[in-house]
């Protein structure tokens, strides 16, 4: 067992932290208030190489392994306070770029990957529907087979990046009676007749990541827009979710580390009853718990990344990491606010935003309840 990172990996992480601290902090409080997405910062990340990290150089990527990618996300989470931007980038990387890279035809890869990686275009991922969330495969969006292609009808909701997207990976069923075996993936470009993006959906946290709905009304997609084989959509989706669960959480580790450091600094500086509040055991213990939670979360996540780097299936481990990190990030946000007292509750102190952002993490990519279901099943329950 080797827990050490190479000098190269650590140097890259430091570079990412430096880049994020310098380049991605501008005007965040206003953007959060106005729920504004920064295309400028998205492009800066692309230029730095974030979007392309684990993808081959042929498509403009850096060919990094999963461990390095996850460590980079950790650095991004530590250096970049804009959790919404990081979330939006991860949503594209794992549920748009990765399925195209793994299941797409060479033509689809050539068409989309270089643009997505360079920041020239943005992608969204449509799975959830108004009537199907956790039970994703009970979707209503239909893909009816016609001559030379498919006609899609239905709608997708809670779609991250939808209002700013140039293309989307979407799932529709070719036969609702087949359940998960009818689910089929497609790529679709904005501007395709019958395909529209409706309203911007406002939300509690991750406010700088745009969200909307995708509507399909007799939308014809030629055969070459199908992603992977007919009926393989459920497995394509599962693969994306495993990547997303591992990597999106990497940034949470970075953010929790920053919350811990800020809490320690504040507990040492803030005095009440004639001494630093960190000298009160209840305050100290709360910060100790933050530290223990951070380290256990980190170990769970590194294990998932390691398993995947060995080419091993990690369904249960990814579910454990998603469950634990999602909940740990919420708890860490609460603990930080308690440590900062009333100041922690005030927007200007930039502590409360993390808690609002963290709550999304117990819902997206499968709620905590769903992660528990997966783990229970793997335990034979």
């Amino acid at each position: 067992m080797d827990f050490s990172w190479s000098d190269e990996q650590l140097a890259y992480k430091r570079a990412v932290v430096g880049f994020a601290q310098k380049e991605l902090r501008n005007g965040l409080m206003e953007r959060d208030q106005k729920a504004e997405f920064s295309r400028e910062n998205w492009n800066k990340c692309a230029q730095f190489g974030i979007q392309g990290l684990p993808f081959p150089e042929t498509y403009g990527g850096a060919n990094a392994d999963i461990l390095t990618t996850m460590l980079t996300m950790e650095g991004l989470g530590y250096g970049c306070a804009d959790n919404g931007l990081i979330f939006a980038i991860n949503a594209q990387m794992w549920s748009v770029q990765m399925p195209i890279f793994k299941f797409g035809t060479e033509l689809q890869k050539q068409k989309y990957l270089p643009g997505l990686i360079s920041g020239q275009i943005i992608g969204a991922h449509g799975m959830s529907e108004p009537d199907s969330g956790s039970d994703a495969y009970s979707m209503r969006t239909r893909a009816e087979k016609v001559d030379r292609g498919y006609v899609l009808n239905g709608s997708k909701t809670f779609v991250t990046n939808a209002p700013v997207a140039d293309m989307a990976v979407v799932f529709a069923t070719v036969d609702p009676k087949r359940g998960m075996w009818g689910v089929t993936g497609f790529v679709v470009d904005m501007g395709t007749p019958g395909f529209t993006v409706s309203r911007h959906i406002d939300k509690m946290g991750l406010r700088t990541s745009p969200m909307g709905e995708l509507i399909f009304e007799d939308c014809f997609l030629p055969e070459e827009n199908r992603l992977g084989p007919v009926g393989a959509g459920a497995n394509i989706f599962k693969d994306s979710m495993e990547w997303e669960r591992a990597c999106i959480l990497g940034s949470h580790i970075g953010t929790m580390e920053l919350q811990l450091e800020r809490s320690i600094a504040y507990a040492r500086a803030r005095e009440q009853f004639g001494q630093p509040i960190g000298k009160f055991q209840t305050v100290a213990n709360r910060i100790v718990d933050m530290k223990v939670r951070l380290e256990t979360a980190r170990l769970l996540l590194y294990k998932v990344a390691w398993l995947r780097s060995q080419g091993k299936s990690a369904t249960m481990e990814a579910a454990m990491a998603k469950l634990y990190l999602g909940e740990a990030f919420v708890q860490s946000g609460l603990d930080a606010i308690r440590t900062f007292g009333g100041w922690g509750y005030m927007t200007e102190f930039e502590v409360e935003r993390d808690l609002r952002d963290a709550l999304g993490g117990v819902l997206y990519s499968g709620t905590s309840d769903i992660q528990r279901n997966i783990i229970a099943r793997y335990l034979g329950l």
């Binding site: 495969y137 084989p229 080419g311 099943r377």
Partner: protein
């Protein structure tokens, strides 16, 4: 033991756990919900470990997993 016997035993013992002890190799595993989406994940993980093969994600389709018989025929190609 051949693929069919090993798969039948695993599905009966681990995925069905007594719910359908008379499962046959030709029975439709998917249309009647005998195996759900989580069950498929477990089955693929079992196949990969037991038979030392990597099932490509794009091969996890109805046509290859519909019954123990169909699945065994698919696995025989490795």
């Amino acid at each position: 033991m051949n693929h069919e016997t090993i798969l039948l035993e695993y599905i009966k013992q681990e995925l069905l756990r007594g719910r359908k002890s008379d499962l046959k190799v030709e029975d439709d595993l998917l249309s009647n919900g005998i195996i759900d989406s989580l069950g498929i994940l477990q089955l693929v993980a079992f196949i990969e470990e037991r038979f030392h093969i990597q099932v490509p994600d794009e091969d996890v389709v109805f046509e290859n997993f519909q019954s123990v018989k169909v699945l065994s025929d698919y696995l025989a190609k490795f």
